[in-house]
Symmetry: C2
Subunit: 111 residues, 2 copies
Amino acid sequence: MRQLPEPARESLRLASVLHALGDPIRLELARRARETPESTCSALADGLDVPMSTLSNHWRIMREAGLISMTVDGRHRRIRLRAEDLRDRFPDLLDPILRLAEAEAPTSGTR
Amino acid sequence: MRQLPEPARESLRLASVLHALGDPIRLELARRARETPESTCSALADGLDVPMSTLSNHWRIMREAGLISMTVDGRHRRIRLRAEDLRDRFPDLLDPILRLAEAEAPTSGTR
């Protein structure tokens, strides 16, 4: 298992985290990643009508912003939301946002 | 005074609001807009090293996401953060984010 590069906790920037959450697909992926820790990219994207290349781009943006950790596990890529790092750096940010995302109508793959 | 088009309160989308806040310059403009209500675009952008065309684009993104109202007042454009609409639609979202933005080092115009 190999972990892909990600920013250290102390390098997380608020604007980058908000940008990573500022897309309906990424917001939904983050919500699902919290619900199902250590799940795979493909399982988390199940049912979302998004091309594979777009999805890869979404995961990269989320990883580079420090929202998720991504581990290569054979043919799979496993995702973990960096909830503790985010809570440490930005208290009262992630939980309210994911709660609000939950309350909004489920995304249908469109903005 | 003429108000530029903006989404109704009930049409605000969480992902769009997060996207509007997900840029260091826009985050700083939102913070300043809250501090100085009804200020002008140019006054709020004072000291930020950003080209005028980029700034116009930022204001448009913020307006279209429902983060700000923009009013044409003669040669000026006045900005008002839609704090009440946002609090109504997304409780516990805007205030923590602007507090965290305040706590981060002041932006120098770079991401």
